[in-house]
């Protein structure tokens, strides 16, 4: 089970046909489990059989994690059936990226051992009182005379807290403010002395209901000094770097939710006859389906570039993480919302063969606020914006093919090598001023010119920003500049995927790129252009063909069970 495609095929086979009402890991089982605020037991068992947690453990530690893009693609097979199942399992990345980034060899071996044994680690960074402002976290670890640490405070909204075998916790180790005041801790759940820690009641949620959100209130809980993960005071620095991986990976996995939403909408609208013809033939339905398909391809193009960049040019992670989390989360939630309008009353039903749709419509929502909110992503991007734009103008260069091509060798994943600032170096931004130098299909060129012009205007405005304008209280029009930057990167990614696609491939054809660039123009200009009729036809033909052949709707067009 080495190559990614043999792994995805194997996992698809294990989880089976999701439409089969008798499949205990299918849509019906996922919906039934959701009603009980659980995940389907048979699906969990299949993932254990597969040894899914090994996908999150670096190869050097005995796991199968070599490439973030492969791990994401595999997880799409879980997300497309049940996003709560996907997040519950993929959530193992949240604590472990910190261990891989900052842990000692012994801590890394210990975390790897747990995951390879199908056990769980949970991540307690978040505190409701402080939201995305993690450097304000108040949960404290105080050093006792004997070198042990005593923990005080609350951690909330922690997934699978009650079934974790170990925890990674962010704790304040210094009362002063600033980025050296917190430390990460890694310790076994057996240390959770019931006399010193209270398990908080489960948090109940609208979506992702199979995910058990818990919390703890500690009062003098003692852990050994050796629980420190990395040097004391480096907690926020590690979190800021390691979470780049997860802030890219989770939205990237979530594209599979849109895949299923599209598939269910196709299933419904093809079978339903309205006004004497299949609903799928109505113009409003056709347009909605074609736009959602284009949006899915845009999301996957940006996600492919960002996951690959973590290995090809890791210094850009601090830019790509908020970019993906902002733009992909926005496009996915909007697309599912629009599909629900053509599902008619079927989107509202909790029973019947399309019941999974209402679950997806709820489950997709957290992608926009969980882990980090879209608004906070713009705040994170803004301080780097003038430098990024300035450098892209001074040093434009085509982006490496390895960010886009279907097959590409990547440098080894080096998590400790992630940086918290990019120093202006973003290969996607730097590529935009060069994209018109390439040969482009005639239908694409004016759209590419439009994006290049928009980026030049953004550069003009953005490089003139003064430091005080970039702060957390930045004006709304200034924040919109950061949003426009994310659109520019997505356009660069789509152009790159098209440029490097094998001839004869759907991705080498101009139609999807015309659709992608048109849709991206509409992100910042909501009254933006419609897809031309011949483009819509081409997209719907491809979509219908993949539906009939049971292929994924994303970049890979791989076989689904």
């Amino acid at each position: 089970m080495t190559g990614i495609w043999s792994r995805t095929d194997h996992l698809e086979k294990l989880l089976g046909d999701p439409w089969d009402a008798g499949n205990p890991a299918g849509f019906a089982a996922a919906v039934a489990a959701d009603e009980r605020e659980e995940t389907a037991a048979a699906a969990e068992a299949a993932l254990d059989d597969f040894g899914l947690h090994a996908e999150f453990v670096p190869r050097a530690l005995g796991g199968r994690l070599e490439r973030v893009d492969d791990m994401v693609e595999l997880m799409r097979s879980v997300y497309r059936r049940d996003p709560a199942l996907g997040l519950g399992r993929g959530g193992q990345l949240l604590p472990t990226v910190h261990v891989w980034t900052a842990g000692s060899p012994e801590q890394r071996r210990e975390a790897a051992g747990l995951l390879l044994d199908n056990r769980r680690i949970t991540c307690a960074v978040h505190e409701l009182a402080h939201g995305n402002d993690i450097s304000a976290s108040s949960f404290a670890a105080r050093r006792a005379d004997d070198g042990a640490l005593r923990l005080h405070g609350r951690k909330e909204s922690i997934s699978n807290f009650d079934r974790a075998d170990a925890l990674v916790v962010l704790a304040r180790t210094n009362e002063s403010n600033g980025p050296r005041s917190h430390s990460l801790l890694f310790f076994g759940a057996d240390l959770l002395d019931p006399a010193r820690v209270r398990v908080l009641p489960r948090f109940r949620s609208v979506g992702m209901r199979g995910l058990r959100l818990g919390g703890m209130a500690a009062d003098g809980l003692e852990v050994p000094g050796s629980a420190l993960l990395g040097a004391e005071g480096t907690g926020v620095d590690t979190v800021v770097r390691a979470f780049q991986v997860t802030r890219i990976a989770f939205p990237a996995m979530s594209t599979a939710v849109l895949d299923t939403a599209l598939r269910v909408t196709l299933h419904h609208t093809r079978g339903r006859v309205l006004y004497g013809r299949p609903a799928a033939a109505l113009p409003i339905v056709r347009t909605t389906l074609a736009e959602a398909f284009a949006d899915l391809l845009v999301c996957e193009a940006l996600c492919r570039a960002a996951t690959r960049a973590l290995q090809v040019c890791p210094q850009a992670g601090s830019v790509h993480a908020p970019t993906v989390k902002y733009l992909v989360a926005g496009l996915l939630t909007d697309a599912v919302e629009r599909l629900s309008t053509v599902m008619g009353s079927e989107f509202y039903r909790r029973d019947g063969e399309h019941a999974v749709f209402q679950k997806l419509a709820r489950d997709i929502r957290p992608v926009a606020f969980a882990h980090i909110a879209r608004a906070a992503c713009l705040s994170a991007l803004l301080p780097q914006l003038p430098g990024l734009l300035g450098r892209s103008r001074r040093d434009p260069a085509p982006a490496p093919d390895a960010l886009f091509a279907a097959e590409a060798d990547l440098p080894a994943l080096d998590l400790p090598g992630l940086r918290s600032v990019a120093g202006g170096r973003d290969p996607l931004a730097a590529s935009l001023p060069t994209v018109l130098d390439e040969e482009l299909p005639s239908a694409v060129r004016p759209l590419a010119e439009d994006h290049v012009r928009a980026f030049a205007a953004l550069t003009e405005t953005g490089t003139a920003l003064r430091p005080p304008q970039l702060a957390i209280d930045a004006e709304v029009p200034v924040r919109r500049l950061a949003a426009r930057y994310t659109v520019a990167l997505a356009a660069a990614a789509c152009l790159g995927v098209h440029r490097t696609a094998a001839s004869g491939d759907f991705l080498a054809r101009p139609e999807w790129l015309v659709a992608a660039l048109t849709r991206l123009s509409a992100v910042e200009r909501p009254s933006g252009a419609q897809l031309p009729p011949e483009i819509e036809d081409a997209l719907l033909e491809e979509l219908g063909d993949r539906y009939d052949r049971g292929l994924s709707f994303g970049l890979s067009a791989r076989p689904y069970a």
Binding site: S135, S176, N177, G178, P179, R180, T234, V236, D237, S379, A380, L382, P383, Q384, P386, G387, G390, R391, R419, S420, V421, A422, G423, G424, R466, P467, P468, L470, A471, I472
Partner: protein, 99 residues
């Protein structure tokens, strides 16, 4: 990389440049930035520190982590740290590559 009218590997020269850069981040400050005063006392928040680090890194062309700013929390100490990093990088460029 920007060409400077000063030698950034000389701490005293880099210090003057950093004082000017930092002043950009402190529009409400009425006096000159004191290179020996703790940066925390100027009330720079974490976002401003990220912006300052990214800005200085982009202009100097050497890695500047926000954490490094906290580890060298005055302009004088930061200048010393960055100047030695730049000098080391320049030295490495001039040395023949080991086989």
């Amino acid at each position: 990389m920007t060409t400077f009218a000063f030698d950034p590997t000389v701490p005293a020269q880099l210090e003057g440049w950093l004082v000017e850069r930092l002043a950009e981040y402190l529009p409400d400050l009425s006096e000159a930035v004191d290179p020996h005063r703790d940066l925390g006392e100027y009330g720079l928040d974490s976002i401003a520190v990220v912006a300052f680090a990214a800005d200085v890194e982009e202009r100097l062309g050497t890695a500047v982590d926000p954490g490094a700013i906290w580890d060298h929390p005055t302009i004088a100490r930061l200048a010393e740290h960055l100047a030695s990093e730049l000098a080391a990088a320049a030295g490495a460029d001039e040395r023949p590559q080991a086989a």
